[in-house]
Structures are given as C-alpha cells and as structure tokens.
C-alpha cells in the first residue's frame, strides 16, 4: 500500500525546486570537503556545477534504460522502474563527483534485480557488461552496501505499472470505452519517458499511472474525463479532483519536456571534467583507492592471521593435553 509506505513518507518531494536544492547542497558539500585548496572563483572550473551534475545523471538514466532493455535474460518492467528509483534517490543526497554514476547505475540495477526477485547471479549480471568483468564485479559488490545505506534501506518501491493494470481493469469494468487494450502501447511509452523525469519523486505511482492512461487516451482521440470525474472519483472524491487534475497536467507537461537526445559535445566535455575532479578515494583506477582496498584487505588478513594463530595455539594445547592424557607405552 503506497499510502503507508516509506516511499510516501521519505521519498516524495514537494516540487522540483526542493529537489534541486537538495542536489545543490550535495554538490556544495562535496566541494567544501574536497575543494578547500581552490579559491572561490576558480572552483567551478575544476568541479562540476549542480546543473552539470544533473545533466550527467540524466544521461546515465538514459544509459540505465538502454542497458536494462538489452539485458539478457530480459528484465521485467518493475526491475527497471525500481532501478530508476534507486538511482534518482541516490543522487539526491550524493554528488556525481563523489561516486561515479557509471558505477552506481550498475549497482542500482543489480540491487533492483534482487529486490524485485528477478533472479540473476553476479556472473550472469556482469556478463551483460562490456570490459573487465572482474573489476565490475568488485565495483558492484563494494558499492552495494553503500547504496543501500544511502537509500536508508528503504528498498521496497511502488512502481506505476500495477496501478496501470488496475486502472485498465477498472476502465474495462466501469467504462464504456471501446477496446481499452488499445491504450497499452501509449501508456507504456509514456511511463518509459516519465522515468527520465523527476515525476516519480513528486507524484504517487497511481497518479503517474492515471496520467499515462489519460495521455494514451488523448493520443487516440478518446476522452476518459467523464470516467475520471464521475466514475473513479465519484461524489466523495469531488473535493480532491482539482488537485488530481493539476497533478495529471503537471506530469504530462514534465514528460513532454523530456529531451532524450543529449548533446554529444557537451557530454564529452563533462566526462573529461569529471574524470579530473572525481573523488580519487572512490575511483577504482586510482592509486589511493587501490591502497585503501589493500589496507582493508591487509586488515582482514591481519585479523585472519590473529584468529588463525590463536586457534592454532588452541589446537596445540589440545594436542598436548591429549598426549598427557594418553596412557604411557613403555
């Protein structure tokens, strides 16, 4: 039930400005932590601005979608939706410069597979990736806990897909629309685009679903307005109708604004900039990262050594005892 979920309580935001403010503060926090040595004026020559970060996130959202579509075995829509949610939520409170979206993206998808019970092993999963698969495995598994922590462990996601099914059932039952199945392709297309915007962070899944269905209907020159006002909301929902109409309008306009073809030149520039300014502590190619990992590994080794040595001494003492206890042969 969405109304009692963590999604409703902690991950629904008032408007886009609130979201942008949060993202800006994440950006500022990162710069303040890692950019003290650079003076104010030159800061944004080196670091990404919040706006640039947003563009990066948007681009990786598209990549996320494409990756999921090409994934073998084919994923259910819920996995994709959930991965989108995770990815969006992560970059509300985190800077792109701290954790590279490329890494967080695959981790989000991997975690979404688990949560949505789409059963793939890590080998199967990295099989869908290009490049060094061992490294990818390490990155995903190292980032998984971090991601969950940043999500506050709020892992269950309410996607708009089931509400669409519910609405279609309701339309078939209570509305005289001719062949409601025709709405499906339009609805799916709308939802796919909707995930590239922030609507899922601003509106409830059922509202997004309703907007998708209404959009699909208007594309087919059908009118479902009377169904919504009279049948769905009825008498007791009359007071709430205005709010809903406003929400549907906002969702549709936001989805219409989606620009799915980003500027390639700008992308390249941003990529280069990010490569320079990203936090080396979290970059698996950097020396610092390798050192850190090695230190962690050594720590583990040390721990292992101490444990094994104590258990060794225990073993020998046990042996001594058994020697003493055994009857002497003379």
């Amino acid at each position: 039930m969405f109304s009692t979920s963590t999604q409703s309580k902690s991950w629904m935001f008032n408007n886009e400005d609130d979201l942008n403010k949060l993202r800006e503060s994440a950006n500022l926090k990162h710069i303040q932590t890692y950019g003290r040595h650079i003076n104010e004026a030159a800061r944004y020559d080196y670091f990404l601005t919040a706006e640039e970060e947003k563009i990066m996130v948007k681009r990786y959202e598209i990549r996320l979608r494409d990756f999921c579509k090409r994934f073998q075995p084919p994923m259910t829509r819920c996995v994709i939706g959930t991965a989108f949610h995770y990815f969006k939520r992560f970059y509300i409170h985190n800077s792109v410069m701290n954790h590279h979206p490329k890494e967080i993206m695959v981790t989000c998808i991997y975690l979404a597979c688990k949560v949505e019970e789409f059963n793939v092993s890590i080998q199967q999963f990295v099989g869908n990736l290009k490049g060094d698969r061992e490294k990818a495995t390490d990155i995903i598994l190292n980032n998984e806990l971090l991601l969950m922590e940043q999500l506050n462990f709020h892992l269950s996601i309410h996607n708009p897909f089931r509400p669409v099914e519910g609405l279609l059932i309701d339309i078939k039952t209570r509305c005289t629309l001719n062949d409601p199945e025709r709405l499906r392709p339009g609805t799916e297309h709308f939802l796919e685009r909707a995930f590239l915007t922030d609507v899922v962070l601003l509106y409830s899944p059922s509202q997004v679903a309703l907007a998708a269905v209404l959009h699909a209907a208007s594309k087919l020159q059908e009118n479902l307005d009377s169904y919504v006002t009279d049948t769905l909301f009825g008498v007791e929902g009359r007071g709430k109708l205005e709010e809903l109409i406003e929400a549907v309008r906002a969702i549709r306009s936001m989805v219409k604004m989606v620009d799915a073809t980003p500027d390639r030149n700008q992308q390249k520039l941003l990529d280069k900039k990010l490569e320079k300014c990203r936090n080396p502590e979290n970059n698996p190619d950097s020396e610092i990262y390798k050192k850190r990992m090695q230190a962690l590994l050594d720590e583990d080794d040390d721990l292992y050594h101490t444990i094994s040595s104590t258990s060794d001494s225990l073993n020998t003492s046990a042996l001594n005892m058994s020697v003493c206890a055994s009857p002497e042969v003379t």
């Binding site: 039930m1 969405f2 109304s3 009692t4 409703s8 902690s10 991950w11 629904m12 935001f13 008032n14 408007n15 609130d18 309410h158 089931r162 509400p163 669409v164 099914e165 519910g166 609405l167 279609l168 059932i169 309701d170 078939k172 039952t173 601003l202 509106y203 409830s204 899944p205 059922s206 509202q207 679903a209 309703l210 769905l232 909301f233 009825g234 007791e236 929902g237 709430k240 709010e243 809903l244 929400a247």
Partner: protein, 314 residues
C-alpha cells in the same frame, strides 16, 4: 540390616541368619540370645552404658540406627505427659511454642544434652499440669477414636457387599433352574410347535438379561476411607488475579488508501471485475491464490495515493 553384629557376642547376620537385634530405652542394641543371657533375672545393666534396664522393656529393633529407637522411646515417654491438644490453647502461636518445647525436650534427652535440667523441667511440668494430664489421658484423643470408628464402618460395609453378592448369585441360579423347568413343562404339555416354544423362551431370556444389565450399580459418593468425592476441589489453586481496567474492545482495521473508495471483495466478484484478469491456473488455486486477489491488488494499487497531495518531507 545385613551387616549387623551384636556388640557383645559379635554374632553377625551372616553367621546366624535368624539373629534378632533388640533395643532398650538407652538406644544400645543387643542380640536376642545376649538379652536372654544377661537379663536372666529380669533386670540388669546395659553392657555399654551401664544404665539399669528391665528385660521386658526390650523390643525388636525396627530402625537401622539404634539411636532412632531411643528417640522413639523417649518421645513416647515425654508425650505421655505432654498430652495437650491444639484445642487446649488460645492461639496457634501458643500451641506452636508448646510443640517446640516438646521437641526441644525430646532432642535434649535423645542427644544427652543437659539431661538433669531437662528431667527437672518434665517433673515441674507434671506437677503443674497434673489435673490436665489425667483428663487428657482419659480422652485418648478424639481423632484416634474417630479413625477407629471409620475402620469399623468400613468393615461392616464390606461384609454387607459380600452378602449381597452371595444372594445375587444364588438368586440367579434359582432363576435359571426355574426357567429350565418352565420350558420343559411347556414342551411337555403345550400343543404348540416345539421350535416356536424354544424360540420364545430364548427371546425371554435375552430380554431378562438386558434388563439386568440396565440396572446400574448404585453410585458411590465416597471413597473407602469415608472421604466424600469432590472434597478435594475445595483445596484447589489460588484464584487468578483479575486485572482491573477498561476492557479491550475490538476496532476493525481500517485501511487508509488516500484515494477513492475501493470496490469490496464482493463487488470484485459480482460486478465483473474478474472478467478482465487472467483466471488462475491449477497450481495457483492449490496455493490459495485466486484471480480476485490479484485483481483486488491491482485495483488497490491503482486507487491508493490518487488523493496524494505534495507535502513537505520532514
């Protein structure tokens, strides 16, 4: 008891299987033959503690530890004088004090502690309570009397039951003989078919037997010891403490859907909602998942949150 040896002649149970150990008021054991030998005159002294003893005070040792025998003896003697009952006291505390005093005296005497003073105390008590002691002796304890009565009553009952059984048995024997004779008479003098007569007789016997079985033996209302059935329930557990406070009242769970009113489970089935979902297959039905559940969930998800208004987080 196996490794008993007489302290005087050193005879053991192993050497003489019929060895009988005797004991007197001092608590020192002696075997029967030694008693015969030493107390030939009827009185003598204990070979261990030199206390003058009488022969007719010797009795067979019942307990393994002879000191227990001594204690039993002393207790008997003390209680002959200290024979007050609970009824003779005003309060339970006083009675308890009295019992404790008795126990102290018995303990002192049997463990040779302060014997002179203890004996003096007994003498003093005897003098002080002479009248009362005499009276109580006559009473012989009401309880003992009652017990005897009960035993007597039980014996009578048993006797009665035996007689009843005997009478019943003889009666049934007589009855059988009578029936047989009647049957033979019938066969001799009646003009009916012999087969019919036998059959009717068999029927009669059967009926009579059934009737007998129906007579339920009288229900007993007490145990053989005379205690009423069901008496025990009076000494049952303590009552469960009842907590005072407002009683719990059930409030049905209401689901806040934050959306339009959902169709009820019945509506889903009757209004044709389920016509638009896939029917469950056999395996799903076996698990209890019917199509109306899936349908209901989809509708719930579609309706829940439709009234959602954007609100500030935190």
């Amino acid at each position: 008891m196996e490794d008993f040896t007489c302290p005087r002649c050193k005879t053991s149970k192993f050497q003489n299987p019929s060895l009988k150990m005797m004991v007197n008021v001092c608590g020192h054991g002696l075997c029967e033959s030694c008693v015969d030998l030493l107390f030939l005159k009827g009185s003598g002294s204990c070979p261990e503690c030199r206390i003058p003893l009488r022969r007719n005070n010797f009795r067979v040792q019942l307990f393994e530890d002879p000191s227990v025998e001594k204690e039993v003896d002393i207790r008997k003697r003390v209680l002959r004088d200290y024979n007050k009952k609970e009824d003779d006291f005003n309060s339970l505390a006083e009675y308890n004090d009295y019992l404790e005093e008795v126990e102290t005296i018995v303990y002192n005497l049997s463990n040779n502690i302060d014997i002179v003073n203890t004996n003096k105390r007994i003498e003093q008590y005897k003098r002080d309570n002479r009248d009362q002691i005499m009276k109580s002796k006559g009473k012989l304890g009401r309880e003992e009397y009652e017990l005897e009565e009960l035993l007597e009553f039980e014996k009578q009952q048993q006797e009665l039951r035996k007689q009843e059984i005997l009478i019943q048995e003889s009666e049934s024997k007589k009855k059988k003989i009578r029936e047989k004779e009647a049957l033979i008479d019938e066969l001799m003098f009646s003009s009916d078919n012999a087969k019919n007569i036998v059959e009717t007789f068999v029927q009669q016997v059967k009926e009579a037997k059934e009737e007998e079985a129906k007579v339920v033996p009288t229900k007993k209302t007490q145990f053989s010891s005379g205690i009423q059935f069901g008496r025990q329930s009076q000494t049952s557990f303590l009552p469960v403490p009842v907590e005072d406070g407002p009683l719990y009242s059930y409030k049905p769970l209401t689901v806040q859907t934050d959306g339009p009113k959902l169709p009820t489970d019945e509506d889903v089935l009757t209004r044709g909602y389920t016509n638009h979902v896939r029917t469950e297959n056999e395996q799903e039905r076996a698990g209890g998942f019917k199509s109306n559940i899936a349908c209901m969930r989809a509708l719930q998800d579609a309706f829940s949150g439709l009234y959602h208004t954007r609100k500030t987080v935190h």
